[in-house]
Symmetry: none
Subunit: 203 residues, 4 copies
């Protein structure tokens, strides 16, 4: 059998050092916070983690993947997400949206989230991974709350829930991304009100 140019010799995951994996992800996370995405280098991650560069190259295909993983590891602590359901959709959404606004306004979230965004915009593969691992589960939880509202007659029964989420979140997301306006609790409220009017059940 021909071997061709000899395939890249893939490593055996069973022997992977969990210690090193964690050290790399930690170092990546901290460096991104300190320096911002594009001033982080693989050499710096390796040095900070006390790890050989090869160990990074062995397990991740690119700097982006490491950093993506490091951020993902933060959120994916496995807990299943659940939105508040007091029966009052508008109040519940305002609670959630105000929290989201606060999160985006927190400077500590700035660097890693921008890093994540850059990754996802620039790399279709990471975008898919992002949707699967991060936004997917969260969106599903949100849609669950919306379905509950539909059953309660607070939202049009035939509303496209993906679209509802877009109308609710995309303006906020865009404003943050382009820095085109302030992220205030009032803004959060406004988005909820507008969305509910847009998808109000037919009277």
């Amino acid at each position: 059998m021909l071997r061709g140019v000899s395939s890249p010799r893939k490593p055996n995951p069973a022997r992977r050092s969990e210690r090193s994996r964690q050290a790399v992800l930690d170092a990546a996370r901290r460096l991104v916070s300190e320096l911002g995405y594009d001033k982080v280098s693989i050499e710096a991650i390796a040095a900070r983690a006390g790890v050989g560069k090869q160990t990074i190259y062995r397990w991740w295909p690119s700097k982006g993947a490491v950093i993506f993983d490091s951020i993902l590891a933060l959120s994916a602590d496995g807990e299943s997400i659940r939105l508040p359901d007091t029966g009052d959709l508008e109040a519940d959404l305002k609670t959630v949206m105000r929290a989201t606004v606060a999160e985006f306004a927190d400077p500590a979230f700035e660097a890693p989230v921008r890093a994540l965004t850059l990754q996802v915009v620039g790399d279709p593969g990471l975008a898919a991974l992002y949707r699967e691992k991060l936004s997917g589960p969260v969106d599903e939880a949100k849609k669950e709350r919306l379905r509950s509202a539909q059953r309660a007659g607070q939202l049009a029964a035939d509303a496209d829930l993906d679209l509802v989420l877009e109308v609710l979140y995309a303006p906020l997301y865009q404003r943050w991304q382009l820095r085109s306006g302030a992220l205030t609790p009032e803004y959060a409220d406004r988005l909820v009100e507008i969305t509910l009017r847009a998808f109000a059940p037919c009277a």
Copy 2:
């Protein structure tokens, strides 16, 4: 007399070579299309443009600025923008949104626009420039059309027009950015309908 630390010796714009400027912008544009934003290097731009590296560093502060300029030069052909105004807001907006959707779906726009987006997300300064030079004028034209609609009673008189634009465009923009759904003419129509319902004049 001593010169001290001597200020950075800024060049005289009057003597700037238009030939070189164009060559650089062209080269940048083409390289971004061919390789994508982050595989483009200043060295490559200079080589492709047949220009010394110093000529680039003399007139632009960073790679981002060159590429930003090169994309900006495309759009800013100076024509003042004007949206259609047939008197039917919904129809006019659908026309415009369908065109926008088509533009985003065009693969030829993909590389430069993603490059631009990455710039703007990552660099607050470029974000400001972007709002001033690109999105600003376009948004102003859109808002002009919306004001006309307000006068015609087709839109709530007290609607925050910036917010209207966000609700109209941000979902589309986000869908494109995260590749989270198809960009179809129907989607464009839906966004218009929802937005108009959200900001309908109080009956």
Copy 3:
């Protein structure tokens, strides 16, 4: 009980795998021939020999030692060496020197012998080993023949035999090493004649 710094844990030679040892030496020899001394790596030897790297490190202290051993294994096939003794010293030496010249001129000997030389020049320890295992026995055989000649009155009785060997062989060795001249049978003859004149018995 504490082990303290614990000595380097020397392996038990009785359990050594002869199979592995041979495979390593063979692989080393062949790789030196193919690639030359300094492009051979321990990793390559281990891979070619189908042996774990640790097995090499367990039994040899350095790459040099492995290669040295591999070349040594070739020659040291245990036979005791004996020079011809027809009674005519000049004729006998010419026979031997012509053979030596031919050996050095053989391209198949080139790579390993240069490798050996580099080792020996660079590493005093290997130099000692070389003298003990390789050149020593051969030189002793040569000196035996010279003593026979001294008894026969063909060589000064008080000649320093080590010096005789140096005068006889060093020029040849240097010429080969620096590639500073051709190695011909005539050259071999000339060296013998000169040496015999230099150490002729006092008339």
Copy 4:
């Protein structure tokens, strides 16, 4: 005209920085003395010289070439070499040989000369360069002295002078290289005596 795979873009020697060249050669020389040939790395030379690695790779093809050059630069200070000629060949040669022995015994010469030797043995190209730039001129000076001796009837008129030099120097060189014996003034004297007997004029 086809460009092929694009040739390696050779640099323009006119623009070469003499400052950097000297700094590299100095650094190389000192590092070889401190660490010995094979523990010197190009990175270390560049760092010590305060020079970018690329500057070394731009002008030298290999570590060996740098170090070779650095040693060569020492000797090649252009002075024409001249051996003493008192009319007494034996005395003159003993003077020279004793000096040579002393030089080889000097530990300060040890590291660079072994480095040079390793280079020359391992690389035919450097061997040629070595003969041309270093050993050539020196040997020519020695042969000049020998010719003078031939005219004075102190050496066989038909002696092959290259061979005379080999018989004179190669034993010393080999003894140093293999560390097979002490390098003493007496040894130097002995070599001269033996050589002169071997190439004595026919009585």
